[in-house]
Amino acid sequence: MRSESSVFGRMPLLLSEREYGTAGAHATNFAFAIATWCFLVGAYTAELVGAVQGTVCLLAGSLVGVFLTTMPLSLGCQRYGLEQIDFCKPAFGQRGARVILVFYLINMLGWSGLILVMFGNGIRNIAGALGWAPGGWIVGAGVALGLGLTYAVVTRGVHLLNVANGIITPCLVLLVGFMAFVLLREHGWQVIAAAPPLDPGPVPSLNYLIAFELGVANGISWWGGIGFLARNTRTRRNAVYPQILQLGFSGGLVACVALYSALVVQSEDPTEWMVPIGGVGMGVLALVFVVLANVTSVSVSIYASGLALRHVPAFRALPWRRVIAFLVVLCLPFVFWPEELYGRGDAFLAYNGTMYAPISGILFADYFLVRRQRLCLWSIFDDDPGRDYHYSRGFHWRALGCVVLGQLLYLWLFNPLTSETNPLFQLLPASLAACLVPAALYALSMRGAARARPVAAPAAGASVDPPRRLVAPNT
């Protein structure tokens, strides 16, 4: 019997409760991949490179990023039915996993804020297309309206969210197809391929590598959703292949259509593409739709953030409305400084690589090399200091230190805020270095340190270490 409270809570999911077979896993991952943030990724890439190199960077980067992040998370969360913050506990410790939770929230709220500014820009451009030219204030007001709508959707529960996504996702597929069709029919590939990048740096090879970094960051950004998707699948293959194909490849393809649109219209604002591409009638219609789609994208993000906050004891028993209100408050800076924060979106996208590349590397090393894919579920949910995953006061400093090292290495090779690069960046992309080096160091430092725990039930008469202080998780 499938229990909704288990699916959306922390209880390990039993095989009988999991929803996705092969078709379901592909469809759900595809629905996740087709989201309005792909428009932003394509737009930021158009600043640096043209259509051909941009296509390679977005597809290659997205596939590499998804591969790095999905292998440990998918296989681990699928095997043990865990959601991803619980999966982080063997590597980072009972409390150390909450540090990862902070990165997760920064990622989700940052994306939400950027999409809400796109929502505000969309309202401004709809007004402009209809002959009314409001001041810049309307963007901030639009963000506030978007936050209000998001709060209304998320607090009414997952059913409304599912209904909204059921309508929005097919329409987004149609919209992306329409954009690609019109671009190719009206302009042709030659024109798209010849369109110059919007704001490239002086060194073309560096622009290419930074665009690749954006692609990798786009793929790695799926870290937040991968555990939820994988724990709902019944087989390992259904956990891994749909993520690589849909989140990696299909998501990259949608970002490519956005890249072409940005290059042809010569604007990085997705809400400025629709009217020039589709004409006033179709353009305004598409724009209204993109604006609505932004609300569902943000709602999914805020919903997931609310669930993640349930890991923090203070939020476990709090009414859902208050949890969501807390998250909405954290997004308020986007109401007051929408354009300033939107302008730093490319740096934020690259920063996702900074955050998640080392975490992905350490999870990879921990799950495959250190623990040989064997976790002790009892210890994950046991708060006793004597348990395996408690380490030092709940923190596994070796793993957390490697994360910091990886982030510093990333910033040393490529600083996304200033776009400064180290000469070594031309030889080794920052996200790969920030993934591989901490992973190798962590694996070396853990040689012989991890104790193998029984996975299967003990034989009759054999004793197994009983739980001492089993945490009662939010269901």
Partner: protein, 67 residues
Amino acid sequence: MAQPSRLEGPGAQAAPASARVLELERRIAELEALDESAFGAFTRLDWLACAVGALAVPAALLLWFAG
């Protein structure tokens, strides 16, 4: 198992702690008792396919178009 109430929302502590611990114990015991094959195979060939498709081919394309 108790469903979350409308007031508390998803993921909230809807059931008493003792009931949740019992439910958790039941789930852990069931998952740990299952044979690895129950979760489906992921062989070396799968690893190879993923590594080639999502690492080697993208890396080759990246180098090819770098020039």
